[in-house]
């Protein structure tokens, strides 16, 4: 299995390790529930070094990124970030990702660990005919995520970057704990926080500095278990569950990342047609009316007929209930619609509820 540069630290902290798409990663430290609650109410530190990073550089860098994605990368100023996708010609997902503009001819793509090799091959193949260099820099980059209402308070003493001025979806370069980093106000939890990227071979020094600084706030190291429950409560999609190469960007309820006016992109005509004709199915969020927990792949029934499977589903530790997502026929997607999920031998009643399931409280 591959290991991030924080592997020894995880083991020192007593993590329960698991395999995640070829990576040895921490599932949990204190426990998924304690970790989840820590991020919602205080702060938590994640190792996300398994994520992939792809550099697209050269005269046609923006043109290539625009061709590959539905969002408008042309609006990005240097150091600005946007959430977007790599789309297929059918308007479905190769992956979802963040695009950082690091300069007029340099875009930095941050992709899922599960898809890194596939995404790199895709971008490289699509780059034929564009004056660009595409580089898979995933092995060189390490990444940490510091998330929670106390994140800025803990990180500020460790960096000269003025974090109060760093707005959401913006990045800055500077030292953190004396180590050169790229820091963005982004994250996958629904809380305020930062993602910290570094080319240093000792990201553990940054992690240890953050954990020491955060001790006064009861910071916890956070594993992949809580990463999943946090992102689901915040309605952030997971490739392989909520989105994949069979679901279009519109069916996935991500119309906000599609900017039809920006010019041509892979899948644009399919998505335009789908918008004009109306969707036949769409992803919804649900909770359960009866007792139980709905998990990925459990069958989903509308009026007694199986229509799909649960995409994401778990017990949400902060909301203290079972929640999940599923694709339903468009007629069944109204809030309040009741349907059923097969949990072992039983049919358990569920209902469509608004998403996100959780929204962080606004600062007073």
């Amino acid at each position: 299995m591959k290991q991030t540069r924080l592997n020894a630290l995880h083991k020192k902290l007593g993590a329960k390790m698991i395999e995640f798409f070829g990576w040895e990663m921490p599932l949990e430290f204190e426990g998924i529930i304690d970790e989840h609650v820590a991020v919602r109410t205080r702060v938590g530190l994640f190792d996300v070094g398994h994520m992939g990073e792809i550099n697209v550089a050269g005269r046609d860098a923006l043109a290539l990124v625009q061709h590959l994605t539905p969002n408008d990368a042309g609006r990005l100023a240097p150091n600005q970030v946007q959430y977007t996708a790599l789309t297929t010609p059918r308007g479905t997902f190769v992956d979802d990702m963040l695009v950082y503009c690091l300069g007029p001819e340099h875009y930095f793509l941050v992709v899922n660990a599960s898809n890194t090799d596939k995404d790199f091959a895709w971008v490289r193949d699509q780059a034929k005919g564009f004056d660009v260099k595409v580089e898979n820099a995933s092995d060189a980059w390490s990444q940490l995520a510091l998330q929670g209402p106390r994140a800025q308070e803990i990180l500020q003493p460790l960096t000269p970057i003025k974090l109060a001025e760093l707005k959401t979806f913006w990045a800055a370069r500077g030292p953190v704990a004396g180590v050169d980093c790229l820091v963005s106000r982004t994250g996958y939890t629904g809380e305020d926080g930062f993602e910290i990227y570094t080319l240093s071979t000792r990201p553990d020094t940054i992690a240890e500095a953050i954990l020491a600084q955060g001790r006064a706030f009861d910071i916890l190291p956070i594993g992949l278990g809580a990463r999943d429950t946090l992102r689901l409560e915040a309605k952030l999609p997971l490739y392989g569950n909520d989105i994949d190469d069979t679901t279009t960007v519109l069916e996935a309820d991500l119309k906000w990342i599609v900017k039809f006016k920006k010019g041509d992109f892979l899948g644009k005509d399919v998505l335009e047609k789908q918008l004009a004709e109306g969707l036949k199915r769409k992803i919804i969020g649900f909770d359960l009316i009866d007792k139980g927990i709905a998990r990925p792949h459990y069958p989903v029934f509308v009026k007694g007929r199986q229509v799909s499977q649960v995409a994401s589903g778990t017990f949400a530790p902060f909301l203290k209930k079972a929640i999940g997502t599923a694709y339903l026929p468009i007629e069944a997607t109204e809030i309040g619609t009741e349907f059923e999920i097969g949990i072992r031998e039983k049919r358990v009643k569920a209902r469509v509820i608004p998403m996100p399931f959780y929204r962080r409280p606004d600062k007073a």
Binding site: K16, L27, E28, G31, I32, I33, D34, G225, T229, K291, G292, I293, R295, T314, F315, P317, A322, R344
Partner: protein, 127 residues
């Protein structure tokens, strides 16, 4: 430590008192599962065979079946677990009991492990 307890290879325990037994899962099992969030209990009156599924216990990440160590009839279920499944994590041998069963055949206990045998079994697993 717990002289009345018998254990199964699936990490259930049964504490025998007269013709009845209290059944739960062991500390090893609750550690493996992590934070428990949901427990599906059988109805009182259910008749179970040896190694028949009592119900399921779910942690955030996993679903696990609980099997009955002996044959018999369920005479009580721990209703506290419906609102506080974490009792199984906190006190797996005490407040985290799952069902009380009236034994159909005391001889079923012969197929189970003693404390010492279970501890040896656990030591073997960890290698």
């Amino acid at each position: 430590m717990f002289p009345d307890y018998y254990y199964t290879k699936d990490h259930e325990w049964i504490k025998v008192e007269g013709g009845q037994g209290l059944v739960g899962i062991t500390d090893f099992a609750q550690k493996q599962l992590g934070d428990l969030v949901f427990i599906e209990l059988p109805a009182v009156g259910t008749r179970l065979a040896v190694h028949q599924k009592i119900g399921t216990i779910e942690s955030v990440k996993a679903v696990s079946d609980v099997y009955c160590p002996v044959a018999g009839e369920v005479v009580a279920v721990n209703k506290d677990l419906e609102s506080a499944p974490e009792l199984v994590n906190q006190d797996p041998h005490g407040k985290g009991w799952i069902i009380r069963i009236k034994l159909a055949n005391k001889s079923d206990l012969g197929g189970l492990m003693s404390v010492a045998e279970y501890e040896k079994y656990l030591a073997g697993l960890e290698h």
